[in-house]
């Protein structure tokens, strides 16, 4: 089935989210839609899926103009969508999820679960998905859940499949598997729209690439184009993908962690006696697959974990056993891994968020009163300095794009007098332009003589920032290696193996 979008325009009030966007996807083709967060990709796909009504323009399937009033129409016409955040019911089985909304019923409305099960099995076998129809969705790994979404679309005979940022939640290995699945679907003659802002993936599977910026089509790119070329099309200016940094000016052992053990309320051990040191002016990156104790490490340093043993010292002062406020006051800057949950108050303005961890004393508080004029002044300066794209400082943080939200968090943390910076996943879900900016800030912090701890599951980021790399596996340190260690070695270490030439 051939999909044609012609001059789609979608406005929200005075904002033009999509400005005459045209797109063509042929069967057996992967068409990448590349653009930064907020470029208008998702809006376009929501128009295609019938969630929004386009103000202008047409959707055509095999030459016939379509008028969708809701996702139901789009599905019936053969469009399947795999959302970034899965639309699955966790306590249902795979088969139940697949039949949901499209239930085949038998006598007196009884559900024909067997038919659904059979359908899942058939699709699963045809594409080699290895999905058990009777497994509970909540018990499946994220990558498999995504396949359930794909099966759901295929079970409704979708000919056009839209993948909306599908790799954001996947591990590197799951991403590779997904790429393979997309190739198979392509060979089976499906038309695929692949929305992403990750350049590597685009180059791997795309047959055609359309780049969108600020709601407009910037142009088509050659799949063989270099990362730098794609990035600059996306951002609209040349982007440095490599972080330029000088050799670190190492100081003393400023931050020392010794035999740190962290248990949860149930007694499970998440960190099992880890020790490391960061010198002033050094970036130590913690690498590892998600869930190997990284979260617990950063939270233990901050005082957010309850059952912590061992010692964490900053400039000789013990941090274990102190309250979060005391740790922050000791000069620890913290960029949490989940900014929406832990980093920002969505219903607060940008200005209010900028004083979140400084509400007790000057400069923004005096004798129990807020100093609003000072705060506003500060916020205006930071908005400019950190290039936060927002109408004004009174915009609610929850309304900003991911990259801009993160810039607010970074601005807040870096504008204090820091003795240590702890950055967990500092660029997760952040667009290319902002990644570049945030990385520069991290290095600048290092160069001002502050020890920096970066936790990242993205090897690219680890390699870009690290002076040394510590690999965690199941709560233990596999090894601490120099920043220029080859990726293959790191990948191996992330599975828990210690190469011979590496010392722990």
């Amino acid at each position: 089935m051939k999909l044609v979008l012609r001059n789609i325009t979608k406005r929200f009030g005075s904002l033009v989210a999509n400005d005459r966007i045209s797109l063509e996807v042929a069967p057996g083709e992967v068409h990448c839609l590349l653009g930064e967060n907020g470029a208008g990709k998702s809006t376009l796909m929501n128009v295609l899926y019938g969630l929004y009504k386009a103000d202008e323009g047409e959707i055509e399937l095999d030459g016939k103009v379509q008028h969708f009033t809701g996702p139901g129409d789009a599905m019936a016409a053969g469009i399947g969508m795999v959302h970034q955040h899965f639309m699955l019911i966790p306590v249902f089985t795979v088969a139940e999820n697949v039949m949901l909304g499209n239930e085949s019923t038998g006598f007196a409305g009884t559900l024909d679960i067997d038919a659904a099960r059979e359908r899942v099995r058939e699709i699963s076998e045809r594409f080699g998905f290895h999905v058990d129809p009777d497994a509970l969705v909540e018990e499946l790994p994220v990558g498999v859940q995504q396949r359930v979404e794909i099966i759901k679309a295929l079970s409704r005979d979708a000919e056009v499949l839209v993948f909306d940022e599908p790799t954001a939640v996947l591990t590197p290995q799951e991403t590779d598997e997904l790429m393979e699945i997309m190739r198979q679907l392509k060979e089976a003659g499906k038309a695929i729209v692949f929305i992403t802002h990750k350049l590597r993936e685009v180059r791997e599977v795309a047959d055609r690439i359309t780049v969108i910026r600020l709601g407009k089509v910037v142009g088509e790119a050659d799949p063989k184009a270099s990362n730098a070329e794609l990035a600059s099309m996306m951002v609209g200016r040349p982007v440095e993908l490599v972080v330029h940094k000088d050799a670190p000016q190492l100081g003393e052992d400023a931050f020392v962690v010794k035999d740190l053990r962290v248990r949860d309320a149930l007694g499970h051990v998440h960190l099992d006696g880890i020790s490391f040191t960061i010198k002033a002016g050094e970036v130590l990156c913690v690498a590892g697959v998600q869930g190997n104790g990284q979260t617990e490490l950063t939270e233990a340093i901050l005082g957010l974990q309850e059952h912590v043993e061992g010692s964490v010292t900053l400039d000789g002062k013990e941090l274990v056993g102190r309250s979060v406020r005391q740790v922050l006051d000791a000069g620890v800057g913290f960029i949490p891994e989940d900014r929406q949950a832990d980093g920002l108050v969505g219903g607060f303005t940008i200005a209010e968020n900028l004083m979140l961890n400084r509400s007790f004393r000057s400069p923004f508080a005096r004798r129990g009163s807020l100093r609003i004029a000072e705060l506003d002044e500060f916020a205006k300066t930071k908005l400019e300095e950190y290039d936060v794209r927002a109408p004004d400082i009174y915009t609610h943080a929850g309304k900003l794009s991911g990259g801009n939200q993160q810039k607010v968090v970074v601005a807040r943390e870096l504008s204090r007098d820091l003795r240590l910076l702890v950055a967990a996943q500092p660029t997760r879900g952040v667009d290319v332009g902002s990644i570049e900016f945030i990385h520069k800030q991290v290095i600048a912090t290092r160069d001002s003589g502050v020890p920096v701890l970066v936790v990242s599951t993205e090897l690219d980021e680890v390699v870009a920032l690290a002076d040394r790399i510590m690999v965690l596996y199941r709560g233990q340190v596999v090894g601490i290696v120099p920043g220029d260690t080859p990726r293959e070695t790191l990948g191996l270490m992330m599975t828990g193996e210690r190469p011979k030439d590496v010392v722990a």
Partner: protein, 414 residues
């Protein structure tokens, strides 16, 4: 700013993704976000809820009116009769309400004409104070359903000081008021401490404390050695001493007393607290996102306790208002007169904003004052007013319903 032209698409798309992807923190988020939705709905929604409730109330007035029903039986023969009766019933009811609540044009001297307005203010005072107590707790993400218990304890404490201590007015009255507020604060504080220490849900705890408080005060009122008036057999305390009674602020012709001014002061203080004080900033942060507040070094548990203490003191002010101002003949277990629960409605309608609560409290005070007049002059049961109040809550709690009825655009990007 250089980025302004680039902002629009950013914002819209993010709204879209946001709606599909509520990346809220785990378990408590559902009731929490509901609470936030209710507590922060826009002003228009509140006004429309009132309009709708009044409309439905009209329907009920019409349905219960004798003449309307009579004329309805021959509506096709003489429709004019029916519509006249309908109009008379509804117009009559609401004008009676207005006469009872704001301005009575049927009497001659000015003082009697505006007497209803002062009655409204008198009824509004405890509603505003207690509404502030509930609303403040809302802002910290907590449901304070314990208004009744807090008012009872406050009333009992204030009543005891008023009846059993002998002091000059300048000391006695403030002392009695403070005693009441402290009692209310401590009673609410129990729920705060339990939530902070053990995670016990404040809704359950405050509801249960209502019963505990009720029977505790009832017990005290039935014991000579505690609160019962000397020589009396009824569960009632001795009347407040003259020195502890709130003075009438417009002279003896009106019932309006100091309590209303105290409520206004409370509005101002809570406004300052929420909008200008660092404590209020932290309260709001905890209410909006306790996870982020905790990661920013704010002691969430401590904030819960502090909020409940302040909330209890505000509800306690409503209790003292009753005992020292409105009914000074002695404390009974009926002293809360439903205010503890009406305060929840007031806080909801006022969107937990101090000024909103002030307006909502005035409206409900008017309902109270006018309800009686409506019953007296038109024979319409006062319960209609209660139904209207309840409908307001119902409509506030169902924003999509209100939007559908008034054909307002749905929230963008849904």
């Amino acid at each position: 700013m250089s980025g302004t032209d680039k902002t629009p698409p950013t914002e819209t798309e993010d709204k879209a993704t946001e709606d599909r992807a509520p990346e809220a923190p785990e378990a408590p988020s559902r009731s929490h976000s509901l609470l936030r939705e209710i507590a922060s709905g826009n002003a228009l929604a509140g006004v429309l809820a009132v309009v709708l409730a009044v409309a439905v109330g009209s329907l009920m007035i019409a349905l219960t009116d004798e003449e309307v029903r009579e004329t309805a039986s021959y509506v096709f023969a003489r429709p004019a009769d029916f519509f006249n009766a309908l109009w008379d019933a509804i117009w009559g009811a609401y004008t009676a309400l207005f006469r009872g609540a704001v301005y009575n044009d049927r009497v001659d001297d000015f003082a009697t004409q505006i007497r209803p307005l002062t009655e409204t203010l008198k009824f509004a005072a405890p509603l505003i104070a207690a509404g502030l107590g509930v609303g403040l707790a809302f802002r910290a993400g907590m449901f304070n359903i314990g208004g009744r218990g807090q008012m009872l304890l406050a009333g009992a404490a204030a009543g005891w000081v008023a009846a059993n201590v002998d002091l000059p007015t300048v000391v006695h009255l403030p002392l009695a008021i403070i005693a009441g507020m402290v009692a209310g604060a401590l009673w609410a504080g129990i729920a705060g401490v339990l939530k902070a220490r053990t995670g016990a849900h404040e809704v359950i705890v405050t509801i249960m404390l209502n019963y505990v408080g009720f029977y505790l005060v009832f017990f005290a009122l039935s014991r000579q050695s505690l609160l019962q008036a000397p020589g009396s057999g009824n569960p009632k305390s001795a009347p407040a001493a003259e020195t502890a009674v709130m003075p009438k602020i417009l002279g003896d012709r009106f019932n309006l007393h100091l309590g209303f001014l105290l409520a206004l002061v409370a509005v101002a203080i809570v406004w300052w607290l929420l909008n200008r004080a660092t404590l209020g900033y932290r309260i709001r942060a905890v209410g909006e996102n306790p996870h982020a507040a905790r990661a920013a070094g704010i002691d969430v548990g401590r904030t819960y306790v502090v909020v409940m203490l302040i909330a209890g003191a505000l509800v306690g002010l409503a209790g003292t208002n009753q005992v020292l101002g409105t009914v000074t003949s002695g404390v009974t277990v009926d002293l809360d007169a439903g205010i503890g629960f009406d305060a929840i409605t007031v806080a909801l309608l006022g969107r937990s904003r101090p000024l909103g609560i002030l307006l909502a409290g005035l409206l409900f005070g008017a309902f109270k004052a006018g309800g009686f007049a409506m019953q007296a002059s038109e024979g319409i049961p006062v319960d209609i007013v209660l139904v209207v109040q309840s409908l307001i809550v119902l409509f506030i709690a169902a924003p999509p319903l209100v939007r559908a009825i008034f054909r307002l655009p749905a929230k963008e990007a849904k």
